[in-house]
């Protein structure tokens, strides 16, 4: 893999100028109404887009193919296979989606392209979470964990190091984001839950679940431990070895005492746990809570005083495009612009995820939908998901409120710690205990 690294480097410096020129040329263009020769030439191009189940969808692919005139081939992969693909076979991918739990892997790899800001049309309209590293009101957010601004910009066109200060080179285009918190079964909990600390309250022993992983489960546990007064951290999103040891030892103690019911690895397991009543309090993804509710089972997604755990998904182009067929690269940029331009964003917005360009969404969503999903307004009519299923009845209000109510208090972000190597080892001990 080091071979790759050096290759990437040399190629990068060589291609720099060329890419900038091309970027400038295309960035000023418009989406529709390309000259016919371009459409003719591009119709044979097939772009491979790999991503998670949230970001790759046949309906979206179909629409993209219709709108763009070249072919988008989407492949849904689980996160491990996806990152493995990017790391070992980057040339087999053109566009890829990944979240902040993976951002640590791309530094100094030369796998991803440095996307010129100029080639992405909606950067100006993108929420400041990504562009500036602040909330909408300009206040800075928590920098514990992989906060968006920590991995939004490349330091330079070589695409090796991240920069926390804005540059002209994007690591990825933010697609969707949200904030997760604890979900409860209000019908089954012994008392009201207001703090992450309740997660380790003995009232819930044997009825809680944590995500099985060091990127989500550990920060959740850390927030809860701190809230319960059992631990203090310098940075929960990037612990020291001592902090890791203490945390894992505490967790092992709790596990042995039977505090955990289960650990989930995927969305569906968390839904099953909650819906079946196996678990009454757990950290879960927002749509999972919604999913439980659509099954007619009460499930509350709690605003907690320590704040939520934020996450985002970037869409990136692969570095090999810069040195390959220019037409292909143009198509990729075109596609990535398309992805945030409307259809796709509306599609996932109506499932409860936030788009990084809410204004564009507002223009294309019905007032009721936008009001419900983004503004925290009571639904004026039934809220229907993109599959035609009624998600909420008229009058319902999204729990957690508006976009900025929900995203405005992020306590920690999904992370990949510097001590990941050590953490994984200790997490294994925890699993084995």
């Amino acid at each position: 893999m080091s071979e790759q690294e050096s290759k990437g480097l040399s190629r990068r410096s060589f291609m720099k100028g060329a890419a900038a020129t091309a970027g400038a040329a295309l960035g000023s263009g418009v989406i529709t109404g390309f000259p016919t020769y371009w459409a003719q030439a591009s119709k044979d191009i097939t772009i491979t887009h790999v991503g998670s189940i949230y970001t790759t969808n046949p309906t979206v692919a179909e629409q993209a193919n219709k709108d763009l005139g070249f072919t988008i081939q989407m492949q849904t992969l689980d996160n491990t296979t996806l990152i493995n693909r990017l790391l070992t076979q980057p040339e087999t991918v053109d566009v890829a989606d990944f979240g902040n739990t993976s951002m640590g892997y791309f530094k100094n790899k030369g796998i991803l392209m440095a996307i010129p800001v100029s080639e992405y049309k909606y950067w100006d309209q993108t929420v400041p979470l990504f562009t500036q590293g602040t909330y909408a009101d300009g206040k800075p957010y928590s920098m514990q964990g992989y906060a968006p601004i920590k991995s939004q910009y490349w330091a330079d066109a070589s695409a090796q190091e991240y920069s926390t200060a804005p540059t002209d080179w994007l690591v990825g285009i933010p697609v969707m984001y949200n904030a997760d918190t604890l979900g409860v079964r209000p019908d089954l909990v012994p008392h009201k839950v207001e703090s992450w600390g309740d997660f380790f309250n003995s009232d819930f022993a044997g009825k809680v679940a944590l995500q099985d992983g060091v990127n989500v489960g550990v920060p959740d546990a850390a927030v809860a431990l701190e809230a319960a007064g059992l631990m203090t951290y310098v940075d929960k999103g990037n612990m020291t070895r001592e902090e890791i040891d203490k945390t894992i030892d505490l967790l092992i103690e709790l596990k042995r005492a039977g505090h955990f019911r289960s650990f989930w690895t995927n969305f569906d397991q968390s839904v099953q746990l909650m819906a079946s009543g196996e678990v009454i309090l757990q950290s879960m993804f927002a749509p999972a809570a919604t999913e439980v509710r659509t099954r007619g089972i009460a499930c509350q997604y709690l605003p907690l005083k320590e704040g939520s755990r934020g996450w985002y998904i970037f869409q990136s182009a692969m570095a090999h495009l810069d040195s390959g067929d220019k037409l292909r690269r143009d198509c990729v940029m075109e596609y990535m612009n398309w992805c945030n331009s409307g259809f796709n964003g509306v599609y996932f917005s109506r499932q409860g995820f936030y788009s990084s360009v809410p204004d564009l969404m507002k223009a294309q969503m019905s007032e009721n939908d936008y009001g419900y999903w983004y503004e925290g307004k009571p639904a004026t009519a039934d809220i229907i998901d993109p599959f035609g299923k009624v998600m909420e009845k008229a009058g319902a209000v999204r729990d957690g409120g508006s976009l900025w109510d929900r995203m405005g208090n992020v306590g920690i972000w999904n992370t990949l710690m510097d001590e990941d190597r050590y953490l994984v080892r200790r997490w294994q001990d925890f699993m084995a205990a």
């Binding site: 491979t48 790999v50 998670s52 189940i53 949230y54 969808n57 046949p58 309906t59 179909e62 081939q73 989407m74 492949q75 849904t76 992969l77 689980d78 996160n79 296979t81 493995n84 693909r85 070992t88 076979q89 040339e91 087999t92 995927n266 969305f267 569906d268 839904v271 099953q272 819906a275 079946s276 749509p287 999972a288 999913e291 099954r295 007619g296 998901d385 993109p386 599959f387 299923k389």
Partner: protein
């Protein structure tokens, strides 16, 4: 044996029935929950009874359906090719073992190793190797190759069973009658081992259809069925999953029945032809 049934027969029948119930317990959930009502979820209780999840499955862009249709077709295509290659290569290696030869042990134990190495490592190792060679994985070579490492050892074992039980004197008789090795194979060995050859095909298909750990990293850009299902399980799932389970089981069931009927009618026709000759 024409003796009377003993008590143990009834006890064992009961045990076997209980085992079948145990085997079908989760399957029963799959079959039943695939008819879950539109408001129902992935677990009991049943909230009504409907075929809405089957309809969803056949609606383009249906919720939780993903790219199941194409991945199913890909799986069938991959399975058919893997099955064919498993059959041919398995047949060849089986024939090679009819005599002792230097290196035979290596061949045999490499198959044993392949059977017991965790699939994820074979898959990862292959992808690492391809990467070092600068090759792009494609379903039609690395995908198939990765799956062959799983299906071939079983084919080899099947060949051992069949060829070992075949009486050598048939072949010797054919040689005496002047058949060369090719004719011997075509007219004597092949007809005798045909059930085993079909067995290898079936084993090849089934192992490919179920396999994801090895193929996962080496399949290229199109998901197979198990990969797609694993991917879909990462997000909101609906009883569509169970509808898929019910339908694929039905599909496999039909395939097997059709194969059986076909081979049965083939045998019948052969019988008829033979009797016609003799009449």
């Amino acid at each position: 044996m024409g003796t009377k049934r003993t008590t143990s027969f009834y006890v064992l029948s009961f045990v076997f029935a209980a085992f079948l119930i145990f085997l079908y317990g989760p399957m029963f959930c799959v079959y039943l929950l695939s008819f879950q009502g539109p408001e129902g979820g992935m677990s009991f209780p049943m909230r009504g009874f409907s075929t809405v999840w089957f309809e969803t499955l056949f609606t383009a862009g249906g919720r939780g359906v993903g790219d199941i249709h194409n991945s199913f077709i890909r799986s069938l295509r991959l399975g058919a090719i893997v099955a064919l290659l498993t059959m041919l290569i398995g047949l060849a290696v089986g024939m090679s073992f009819r005599r002792r030869y230097p290196g035979g042990n290596f061949v045999f134990y490499s198959a044993i190793v392949s059977m017991i190495v965790p699939g994820i490592f074979v898959g990862f190792g292959i992808s690492l190797t391809l990467n070092m060679l600068g090759m792009r994985p494609q379903w039609w070579y690395s995908g198939i190759g990765a799956q062959l490492t799983w299906s071939l050892p079983f084919a080899m074992l099947i060949m051992f069973i069949i060829l070992g039980r075949m009486d050598k004197s048939y072949e010797e008789a054919a040689t005496d009658l002047g058949a060369n090795s090719f004719q011997r194979f075509q007219y004597v060995i092949l007809p005798l081992i045909l059930p085993g050859v079909i067995g290898m095909f079936m084993a090849g298909f089934t192992s490919s259809y179920e396999e994801a750990a090895r193929a996962g990293l080496n399949i290229g850009t199109g998901n197979t069925m198990p990969m797609e299902l694993t991917g879909l399980l990462g997000a909101a799932t609906t009883p569509v999953m169970f509808a898929v389970g019910t339908l694929t089981t039905l599909f496999m069931f039909t395939m097997v029945i059709v194969t059986l009927l076909a081979s049965w009618s083939l045998a019948k026709r052969r019988q008829l032809r033979l009797t016609a000759h003799h009449a």
